[in-house]
């Protein structure tokens, strides 16, 4: 993957997730951060930090991004969510507008 096509999402614990820009754009919040005019630090370095989102949740979110792309292209599968993640996932999804 070329660097220009990727973004780095950093969790609260410092884990870095490098994913496609296209995947990250599924989240409206990230999309706005990366594409809005004006110089967000995020758009310049291609890195977004989420101090309130834990690693497991961020990982699940990235999985959701890819699943979403897959779904939109026609391959409709089920996205399973472990019950213990649901509450935090809801809050994170609400924040990320995804």
């Amino acid at each position: 993957m070329k660097k220009e096509d990727t973004v780095k999402l950093i969790s609260a614990e410092g884990f870095e997730f490098v994913i496609d820009k296209k995947a990250a754009m599924v989240s409206q919040t990230i999309r706005n951060m990366l594409t809005s005019p004006g110089s967000f630090a995020e758009s310049e370095h291609g890195e977004v930090t989420f101090p309130e989102i834990s690693t497991t949740i961020l990982e699940k979110i990235c999985q959701y991004f890819y699943w979403s792309l897959q779904y939109a292209s026609g391959k409709e599968t089920e996205f399973h969510i472990e019950p213990e993640l649901t509450l935090e996932l809801i809050m994170a999804a609400n924040y990320l507008d995804t």
């Binding site: 959701y64 939109a72 969510i81 993640l85 649901t86 996932l89 809801i90 809050m91 999804a93």
Partner: protein
């Protein structure tokens, strides 16, 4: 032994007929009693000539023929005459022929029947035909009466059976068949003393569930174990001393006696009915709806323009109408619509699936595992609201979640379906709730739990009060009366929005209370469906609602033009949303008032008002230029008037309902396409005159359109469905597409007041 109550609908007058079916639980082969099975040995009760009112009442009369409290077979109130009414109610073991046995069916509502003379008489069904009598020995039940007060009143219920389809059976065997009847004919127990005294004495009692016959009959005297003996005795006159014996046969009755018994039973029934009727009249008053006198609108209607003058006056509506007429004079409107389906004729049903959002998915996952939620502390209010909505939808909302919602100092509690909540649970939960920060309380469909002293009970113990409560919704609180509402309103001084839809016990006193304590603070009032409210009596209260923004009086059919005009004169400046659906007495005068005074009106619902005509539409168009949500249904506006409205004042429309507007057609379509760029939701269900081309034009021109409802529009075909070029629009109502996903598409989330912010002091 199981007992099943069935309600058999036998035409309109028999709507309350209940059939009771007994069968031995052991004997599974006793199938359900079907009306269609014309088998023999079926007890069949016909109920003719009883009106449903009586039938319903009669349910209590008989309480139950199988009360659980009867140990040992006994039959109530018969001891007075020292008679035994012994009878067998279940034929199963009687006849021993298990395949043919059906349950006993008899009518607790003392049915009418045809006598042998062919007349209709309330009484028991008498046995006529020769029953298919089993030669086997019968087990008979010994039923002795006892002295208890809780005796069942068995008046004239009859058992018998017929061996032909649906035939009446008469009880009255010729003597030569007596022996055969030992196999357990049900008897009509009749006694002239049975009727009056015991019935009267027991009338006032509140019948327990068992008494009403709704409990399971497990071990009552009806259960036919072996070795019961049947005494069949039919007495009609007390002075006739038929000796009490345990006879196997017991049916020493001639048809004459039976008739006499019938008549007496009938008498008894009538007396009892009369007494009961008095009691029921009293109860009914509480629930009755007054028929308010019609106000005379005569003098007002003369000031309206007539329909011929439409378009001759000045004003935007008339201009538009003139232009329309000019246009259609040259070419018919339908020909003006030039829309071709786009070339890429793709099948929409397989294109572009809509990806569910992570929020939705995780909410769903959370809702399904709701039992495991330990705390909702960190969840913000809007998500709590969505979670509870989802839980209510999948019917998993319960006390556990409710306890989580009331923990801490909640600011919002929104439960859109409280039908599962019992009184006890409600009190227990809410007593623990710290309500001082509560801003929004939504307990819709709370009929079961919201009783009159509910709020008093909650607020009394601690120093709890609803000091911040701004928005309350108690839709469907059908047990809440004026005093209960008063408790709530008195303890919530900052209320700005009250939703009391379908709270049917409320009267004008409730509105007066609200007006007195809240007055000009109140911004939203929903009293749709509250039929006991007399509109004229609440007019004085409305003088105090100066800043009312939302008013819903839908469904109160006694609303008149006069009410509307008086109400608008007070709050016409501030009113932004009016719901007048189903207020069928309204005429164009109301539209004139509204148009004349409500310039800021944003949302109007005039569904099902068929007295409105194009004249009214003109007033509306000229006066209310900024309506965003317009809901019309089954109105009589013509195509031209509708089109002229949209041309002149339809720019701000975001939501337009044209449900069942049969006259709407190509003119309207043209106007919509031309003017309504902001339209988000359009409902043209059942508008048959809008064809594919017209709809295609609308959809392609209204680029913001997200939701299109086309229920009942069979004229819309794939030509449109696959040919339109609007990528966003979701079309509901065709081809068995899922509906409920899109129902709340345009509902805003976490709405507080609809048209103004909450005062600063309450904002956090």
């Amino acid at each position: 032994m199981k007992r099943v109550n069935e309600i058999v609908d036998r035409g309109s007058e028999n709507s309350g007929l209940k059939k009771v079916r007994f069968w031995d639980g052991i004997d599974e082969s006793c199938g359900a009693l079907d009306k269609t099975e014309g088998d023999d040995q079926r007890v069949f009760v016909e109920n003719e000539g009883i009106d449903s009112a009586q039938v319903d009442k009669n349910e209590d009369l008989f309480r139950d023929i199988v009360p659980d409290y009867l140990d040992g077979p006994s039959l109530g109130s018969l001891n007075k005459s020292n008679n035994i009414w012994d009878f067998d109610i279940n034929f199963d073991t009687i006849f021993g022929n298990e395949e043919e046995q059906k349950g006993l069916v008899f009518d607790l509502n003392f049915p009418a029947h045809r006598t042998q003379n062919g007349g209709t008489e309330k009484g028991c069904i008498v046995y006529t035909e020769n029953p298919m009598i089993n030669e086997n020995r019968v087990d008979i039940i010994d039923i002795a009466s006892d002295d208890s007060d809780n005796e069942v009143e068995v008046i004239g219920y009859t058992c018998g059976y017929n061996n032909a389809k649906g035939k009446q059976i008469e009880l009255g065997m010729p003597d030569d068949r007596m022996e055969n009847l030992s196999l357990g004919l049900g008897m009509i127990g009749m006694d002239n003393a049975v009727g009056e005294s015991s019935l009267l004495a027991d009338r006032e009692k509140r019948y327990s569930r068992e008494e009403k016959g709704k409990a399971n009959v497990v071990d009552s005297w009806l259960s036919l174990q072996a070795n019961y003996s049947i005494d069949l005795d039919l007495l009609t006159d007390s002075d006739e001393s038929i000796p009490r014996e345990d006879v196997e046969l017991g049916l020493a009755v001639s048809s004459e006696m039976a008739e006499r018994a019938l008549r007496q039973a009938e008498q008894a029934l009538r007396t009892r009915e009369n007494l009961n009727r008095e009691a029921w009249k009293e109860t009914a008053k509480r629930f009755a709806r007054k028929n308010f006198p019609v106000q005379d609108n005569g003098k007002e209607s003369s000031s309206l323009r007539s329909i011929e003058q439409l378009g001759n006056s000045s004003g935007p509506f008339s201009d538009a109408l003139k232009m329309l007429r000019e246009r259609t004079s040259k070419r018919a409107a339908q020909q003006l619509i030039e829309w071709k389906p786009s070339k890429e004729n793709r099948d929409r049903s397989i294109s572009l699936p809509i990806v569910p959002s992570l929020l939705d998915l995780s909410l769903k996952a959370l809702a399904e595992n709701a039992e495991g939620i330990v705390s909702l502390e960190v969840v913000p209010d809007n998500l709590r609201g969505r979670l509870t909505d989802m839980l209510c939808d999948i019917r998993k909302m319960n006390v556990h979640i409710m306890n989580l919602l009331v923990e801490g100092c909640p600011t919002e509690i929104r439960i859109k379906n409280c039908s599962w909540l019992t009184e006890k649970q409600f009190l227990q939960t809410f007593r623990r709730c710290q309500t001082k920060d509560l801003r929004v309380l939504q307990l819709d469909l709370c009929g079961q739990c919201m009783f009159d002293f509910a709020f008093r009970d909650i607020l009394a113990p601690s120093s709890n009060c609803f000091s911040s409560l701004a928005i309350v919704s108690l839709r469907g609180a059908c047990r809440l009366s004026d005093s209960g509402l008063k408790d709530l309103v008195m303890s919530a001084p900052s209320l700005q929005s009250i939703n009391l839809g379908q709270c049917t016990l409320l009267t004008c006193n409730a509105i007066n209370v609200i007006a007195d304590s809240l007055g000009s603070n109140l911004k939203e009032l929903y009293i749709d469906g509250c039929q006991k409210i007399n509109p004229m009596m609440i007019l004085p209260a409305f003088q105090k609602f100066k800043y009312l923004e939302v008013l819903s009086v839908a469904g109160i059919d006694s609303i008149t033009d006069r009410f509307v005009s008086e109400m608008i004169s007070v709050c016409g400046q501030s009113i932004k949303e009016l719901d007048l659906a189903d207020c069928v007495k309204l005429t164009d005068c109301s539209l004139k008032t509204i148009g004349g005074n409500c310039a800021d009106l944003c949302s109007l619902n005039i569904s099902n008002l068929n007295n409105l005509t194009d004249v009214g539409m003109e007033y509306l168009a000229n006066g209310c230029r900024s309506i965003q949500k317009l809901k019309l249904c089954r109105n009589e506006f013509s195509d031209e008037a509708m089109a002229a409205y949209i041309e002149s004042s339809g720019e701000s429309l975001t939501e337009l309902l044209l449900n069942h507007m049969t006259k709407v057609g190509p003119n309207t379509a043209l106007s919509l396409a031309k003017r309504s760029r902001k339209l988000l939701s359009l409902d043209i269900s059942w508008c048959r005159r809008i064809n594919n081309e017209a709809l295609g034009l609308i959809v392609d021109s209204c680029s913001s359109l997200k939701l299109l409802k086309v229920f009942g529009c069979r004229q819309i075909t794939d030509v449109f469905l696959n040919g339109h070029s609007n990528p966003l629009v979701r079309i509901i109502g065709q081809k068995l597409a899922p509906i409920l996903d899109h129902v709340n598409l345009l509902e805003p989330e976490g709405v507080l007041l609809h048209y103004s912010p909450l005062p600063i002091s309450m904002e956090f």
